[in-house]
């Protein structure tokens, strides 16, 4: 196993009576891309805040890149980049000025600052927009700038909190390519998301979170194979028919889940030798998630 870039053990974070993170264990090997998958309120963003010491855990142990948090958080933050869920760029500054500010905040020396900014502009494909004010950029460009800002000091690890939330599919694909490029360079990535496809495409390993806990950990393919099988049949029909399919599946020892106007039957090969009529598709992480938590992902 590679050395650990992140180690959380029994971490608890409470906000009054609400337990946002409830005994979370999380291991992120160096050089890997780990996805934190869960619906809104699962504790993903709180976990991200704990990792930058913008939230302090009530219980448990946290280590980032070998530094204990919160006491040594500043050292850890010097080696990390953070892409926040909510845009917090300086909107009256230009693209380049935003990067220059963070080159200073990340203590890049005077002699290297120019190169670092150019490199970050290049990664985010924003070189041509360097003199554009941020409030004149599109949503996708602003997201790319947020990523460039997090990379300006060549961090060893990047924390991405819902990096593509609210973006249209085309822009999302562009960002996936950017994130995939980082992954290929060996940068450790911890990425929270509630997009199933994002986690499946980018993450080496996924931690499924629900109500502040990790309910499953593993490679996306392994989790799907273990919990949902290879295939799913979605049966559409009126409510009495769906109830009938659920009852028959239960008798056959198969698991089902309601997906809006249909019932998804998992591993339908064992359906008393017969296969229910419906739309066949490959099982996915969403099936796993719903089976494990009883919640819809988004």
């Amino acid at each position: 196993m590679a050395p650990l870039a992140i180690r959380l053990s029994g971490v608890v974070k409470r906000y009054g009576p609400i337990i946002a993170v409830d005994g979370l264990d999380l291991l992120v090997p160096e050089g890997s891309c780990v996805g934190l998958l869960g619906p809104n309120g699962a504790g993903k963003s709180t976990t991200m805040k704990l990792l930058t010491a913008q939230a302090i855990a009530d219980e448990g142990e946290l280590e980032v890149l070998g530094y204990r948090l919160p006491g040594e958080s500043k050292q850890a933050r010097a080696l990390c980049g953070v892409v926040p869920q909510l845009d917090n760029l300086d909107t009256t500054l230009t693209v380049e000025q935003n990067l220059v500010v963070f080159a200073h905040l990340y203590r890049i020396g005077r002699g290297e600052r120019r190169t670092a900014v150019e490199r970050a502009l290049g990664i985010a494909n924003l070189t041509d927009r360097r003199d554009t004010r941020v409030d004149k950029l599109s949503g996708g460009m602003r997201r790319r700038l947020l990523i460039a800002r997090a990379l300006v000091h060549r961090p060893r690890m990047v924390l991405m909190d819902e990096p593509t939330v609210g973006l249209d599919p085309q822009v999302r694909q562009e960002l996936w390519a950017l994130i995939d490029g980082l992954r290929a360079q060996g940068v450790t990535i911890l990425m929270s998301t509630h997009y199933i496809e994002e986690a499946e495409r980018l993450a080496d390993s996924v931690t499924i979170m629900s109500r502040g806990r990790a309910v499953a950990v593993g490679r996306p393919g392994d989790l799907i194979a273990e919990h949902a099988g290879r295939e799913v049949v979605e049966v559409y029909g009126p409510p009495p028919r769906l109830a009938e399919v659920e009852a028959e599946s239960a008798l056959a020892g198969l698991r089902t889940r309601r997906t809006g106007t249909s019932v998804a039957v998992l591993s339908p090969g064992g359906f008393n030798g017969a296969t229910p009529d419906g739309h066949r598709r490959a099982a996915n992480l969403e099936d796993v998630f719903v089976l494990l938590t009883g919640e819809e992902i988004a």
């Binding site: 196993m1 050395p3 650990l4 870039a5 180690r7 053990s9 974070k13 906000y15 291991l27 160096e30 709180t46 805040k49 930058t52 010491a53 913008q54 939230a55 302090i56 280590e63 890149l65 070998g66 530094y67 040594e72 500043k74 050292q75 933050r77 010097a78 080696l79 990390c80 953070v82 926040p84 909510l86 845009d87 917090n88 760029l89 300086d90 909107t91 009256t92 500054l93 000025q97 220059v100 500010v101 963070f102 200073h104 905040l105 990340y106 203590r107 800002r149």
Partner: protein
């Protein structure tokens, strides 16, 4: 494996409190931002106290020729320095801080870098203090146009502005850290800043006020700023000025710690 191996740790020194690179980073951000709005800020920070100076200096000045042995326009001109310092430190600290943490989430971005709350608050207050020291000189320059004689002591006025401005900036940050909405600043402006502004000896000497008001004035940092500026311009008063400096230093230290504490509670969950 239960712990991350030591080799992951960079062979760097332990980062300490109030590090220069962290303070510089926050100051650079402010300076770059300032380049986009300096005209409007400079206009309001200099024109407003100048209008006070002209209105009171020449309005009341036509009724009152001298106060405390000084021509009234010079008395007000020196007093208005403290007003300019207050306007260019406490007000931007209150509103600017609130906007940056509540709406722009700027502080979330900065605190994700190797900067802690103490460094963030200190650098922000230093920046506003520097601005206060600069803008505080505007009324003095206007008063010189209207007859105030230059003196060597005037060279210390920017420093007095920086010292008082740091305290007022930290005061503003502290208020901002405890407010739930921007409208609540009206309570502070009406109930705290306006009375302090009026009982500071800016427009009239406090020894004409009732005794209780004179006692309150002694607790008012703005009064000590006014007195210090007047003494710098018209002639030092020895230990009295040491006391004024002492009050401003104590005010700055107290509000600095309150601001750091308040913002840490606001920004760190």
């Amino acid at each position: 494996m239960t712990t991350a191996p030591a080799r992951l740790r960079e062979p760097t020194r332990r980062l300490r409190r109030l590090e220069r690179p962290a303070l510089a980073g926050v100051l650079v951000r402010e300076m770059i931002n300032f380049s986009s709005y300096w005209r409007s800020t400079t206009f309001s920070s200099t024109v407003e106290p100048t209008i006070y100076l002209l209105a009171f200096g020449f309005g009341f000045g036509s009724l009152v020729s001298t106060v405390g042995g000084y021509p009234y326009v010079e008395f007000v001109g020196t007093g208005t320095v403290a007003t300019a310092v207050l306007f260019s430190s406490a007000f931007p600290a209150m509103f600017g801080t609130f906007v940056k943490y509540q709406f722009q989430r700027t502080y979330d971005a900065i605190l994700a870098a190797p900067v802690d709350t103490e460094e963030l608050v200190t650098a922000e207050a230093m920046w506003m203090a520097a601005r206060a020291g600069t803008y505080g000189c505007a009324p003095l320059l206007v008063a010189m146009i209207f007859g105030l004689d230059p003196s060597w002591g005037m060279l210390t006025v920017p420093l007095i502005g920086v010292l008082a401005g740091f305290g007022w900036a930290c005061f503003g940050i502290t208020i901002s850290a405890h407010m739930k909405s921007i409208e609540n600043f009206n309570y502070v402006i009406s109930a705290v800043l306006t009375p302090l502004f009026l009982v500071a000896g800016t427009f009239f000497p406090i020894d004409e006020l009732p005794e209780w008001a004179q006692v309150l004035a002694q607790l008012n940092p703005l009064y000590h700023c006014v007195e210090l500026v007047r003494d710098a311009v018209f002639g030092w008063e020895g230990w009295a000025d040491v006391l004024h400096v002492g009050v401003l230093v104590a005010f700055g230290l107290l509000t600095w710690r309150l601001a750091v504490r308040g913002m840490a509670r606001k920004l760190i969950d």
